[in-house]
């Protein structure tokens, strides 16, 4: 930037600061480090779009506490070191009132010590259980966890009398975290994991692993924990081998793409999914239906893209924050923190949120719906 430009910016800033009423009407600042680019951009991109869309909408309706909302967003690319730098900047220079962001668990956990020290409320948009266990005073999160996905699957298996299963997990962060949680909670539901195999996210053929699972004595079902194209390859291979065991997937495949890629091999597959992805098939009596339909429509109208649960997490985070500002009646960090902790019966895209001093996520297994793929589309499993 040239000296001239710097000077002009300085003059403009000074003029803004001196203008009457600028202080009285100072916006409420929402800080948001997100993985907008890079490998985790599928998280950060819809999150940023959602925040921009809804902050614009809320401001159009008069803002919060008579003040406008202002989004201060930085792209951390999912990298923890960058997230640390941007969080420092948000706290010390931008002086934000709350942080809603942290697309990945790595970035979130790197940010935690900073917000705890500074005493700024932080609503994370990342998945892992470690974010809220043990409970951290200033840290909350909106997404459901992979442990809940595993529990939902095991609950359904138990109901169908399936107790001996083969677990096939992807050797990616998502798959391995899921495997760890699945192994941890299996016992609680009386599930015995008799075969345990792994595959790579870009493997073109996993018939070896599937043959091993199929030939394990007593195996009654297959549970695949993976994300993206890997599970589609697994599903096609299950079809190729003619395996007829009940087949469960994780919430990582809850997208139209999975059905399209897997073709008829996906028929009969069961998986837990957030209500947002199956807004249309929810019964009208479902309390989440109006929320998820509203968000889907607003997002699709604006961006001409399908919604993902990730954008939904950002919606939930923003709405919980806004409600907390209103309940607290101010932006005082301590009051806002307490107000977030008192969130009860908030209906978001991720489920019904009931937070408490010991639960900074506030979701239970009802946040997931058990789905079955029938005739190439999602149906609610009976």
């Amino acid at each position: 930037m040239s000296k001239f430009m710097l000077r002009m910016t300085g003059i403009a800033l000074a003029a803004f600061a001196l203008s009457p009423g600028a202080h009285a009407q100072a916006p409420i600042k929402i800080g948001s480090p997100l993985a907008v680019t890079g490998g985790a951009s599928f998280l950060g991109d819809p999150e940023l779009k959602t925040l921009q869309l809804y902050i614009e909408k809320i401001n159009g309706e008069g803002g919060v506490l008579g003040r406008k909302l202002e989004l201060v967003s930085y792209d951390d690319g999912g990298a923890p070191d960058k997230a640390i730098g941007f969080t420092k900047r948000l706290i010390e220079e931008d002086k934000v009132d709350i942080i809603v962001g942290g697309s990945t668990t790595g970035a979130t956990m790197a940010m935690v010590p900073l917000v705890e020290k500074a005493g700024i409320p932080f609503i994370s948009l990342a998945g892992a259980v470690v974010i809220i266990e043990p409970v951290k005073k200033w840290v909350f999160k909106t997404p459901h966890t992979d442990r809940m996905a595993a529990e939902k699957v095991f609950e359904d298996m138990k109901k169908r009398g399936l107790t001996k299963i083969g677990l096939l997990s992807e050797n990616s962060g998502f798959g391995q975290s899921g495997k760890k949680e699945a192994l941890a909670v299996a016992g609680k539901y009386g599930i015995q994991i008799v075969a345990e195999e792994m595959y790579g996210p870009k493997d073109a053929d996993v018939t070896t692993q599937l043959t091993k699972i199929k030939n394990t004595a007593g195996v009654q079902a297959i549970f695949v924990f993976g994300f993206g194209s890997g599970p589609a390859v697994v599903t096609k291979n299950i079809g190729q081998l003619g395996i007829t065991l009940p087949h469960y997937e994780s919430h990582g495949v809850a997208s139209e793409e999975y059905i399209k890629l897997s073709g008829k091999a996906a028929e009969g597959v069961r998986l837990p999914a957030a209500a947002l992805l199956v807004a249309e098939v929810l019964p009208n009596s479902d309390p989440q239906k109006p929320v998820v339909m509203g968000y889907s429509k607003t997002y699709k109208d604006r961006y001409k893209q399908d919604v993902s649960t990730f954008g939904g997490h950002a919606y939930d985070g923003l709405m919980i924050a806004v409600a907390a500002f209103k309940r607290a009646g101010s932006t005082d960090p301590a009051k806002v923190r307490d107000a977030i902790e008192q969130t009860r019966g908030f209906i978001g895209t991720g489920g019904v949120v009931n937070m408490s001093a010991t639960d900074h996520m506030g979701l239970d297994l009802s946040a997931f719906r058990m789905l079955e793929i029938r005739n190439g589309t999602w149906t609610l499993a009976k």
């Binding site: 951009s41 599928f42 050797n171 195999e197 792994m198 595959y199 790579g200 870009k202 493997d203 073109a204 053929d205 996993v206 018939t207 070896t208 692993q209 043959t211 091993k212 030939n215 993206g228 194209s229 589609a232 390859v233 096609k236 190729q240 081998l241 003619g242 793409e257 399209k260 890629l261 073709g263």
Partner: protein, 291 residues
């Protein structure tokens, strides 16, 4: 028991065929220029993605394949003209680094143009598996193996029997000497990129029904292809195919009989061993460097 082993072998063949097709592209450019082209995986990705886009736009499959291969060949030419050629007489290491940059660039463009989603190409001859003694193999795997074999034969004929092929070999061996005997080494380098881009595109199209395709599919395929080419001996067509199949089969057998958690590690251990005892790979030329 037999059917189980046979299934492991089929699985290894399917993965191995993909690695082999990818390895052939590495070998070709290495033959012609001594450069290891790390954008080879991206040629494969582009071939698959282009074929998927064309068929979904209603172009019949054979025509879509032809167009996809031509388009990627043009990309190969542009890459050589705008990235490799301006580097002039830069040494091989610099050229290799340029190809890494080109790979990142192509991925970025593909991500913006085609989006981040995954697509699948329809199998050429249906997806009803062929069942042999209780083990099953997809017809598309046979297409991949067959394509690999045809490419090896064509390349052997090209480098052994045609003037152009021999000119390419001569250029790779000694660029100055090749120039002295009247070979236009610029054209040779450009041609080698065009051919290996086309080869990559063919590999991409043939494997797309199995690997599925997306902007980032080239990374892993390219990496494994490079490993396979090194294992078989860089510059050897037969070596590339052998290297690919050995890699695929070892992975499958390791997953089947040892543990799928270590399946990626076992082939790499194998490679370290082979390269330790045979530094030029299984089928690599025995060259003595004169000092």
């Amino acid at each position: 028991m037999l059917s189980q082993t046979l299934q492991y072998l089929f699985s290894g063949l399917t993965n191995g065929a993909i690695y082999a097709l990818s390895a052939l592209g590495f070998s070709l450019i290495y033959n012609a220029s001594g450069v290891i082209n790390f954008a080879q995986g991206e040629f494969i990705m582009l071939g698959g993605v282009a074929a998927v886009l064309l068929t979904s736009a209603g172009v019949p499959l054979p025509l879509a394949i032809l167009l996809a291969v031509l388009m990627v060949a043009v990309v190969g030419l542009l890459l050589e003209k705008f990235a490799i050629e301006p580097a002039g007489d830069a040494d091989v290491v610099s050229l290799i680094i340029i190809t890494i940059g080109a790979s990142i660039f192509l991925q970025g463009v593909a991500q913006v143009v085609f989006g981040k989603g995954q697509r699948a190409l329809a199998p050429f001859t249906g997806d009803a598996p062929i069942v042999i003694a209780g083990a099953s193999l997809l017809p598309q795997s046979l297409w991949m193996i067959g394509t690999g074999a045809v490419i090896v034969l064509v390349l052997a004929w090209f480098f052994g029997r045609t003037r152009l092929g021999k000119a390419m070999l001569a250029t790779a061996h000694n660029r100055l000497a090749a120039r002295l005997v009247g070979i236009n080494t610029r054209h040779v380098l450009a041609l080698s990129f065009v051919i290996s881009a086309a080869l990559g595109a063919i590999a991409g199209v043939v494997s797309a029904p199995i690997t599925l395709t997306s902007y980032d599919v080239g990374i892993m395929v390219g990496l494994k292809g490079f490993v396979a080419a090194t294992l078989g001996g860089l510059g050897s067509g037969v070596g590339a195919v052998a290297g690919g199949l050995i890699l695929g089969l070892t992975e499958a057998l390791a997953a089947g009989y040892i543990s799928s958690a270590y399946k990626d590690a076992v082939p790499f251990v194998l490679i370290i061993l082979i390269l330790f005892f045979m530094p030029r790979g299984l089928f690599g030329a025995r060259v003595t460097e004169r000092v």
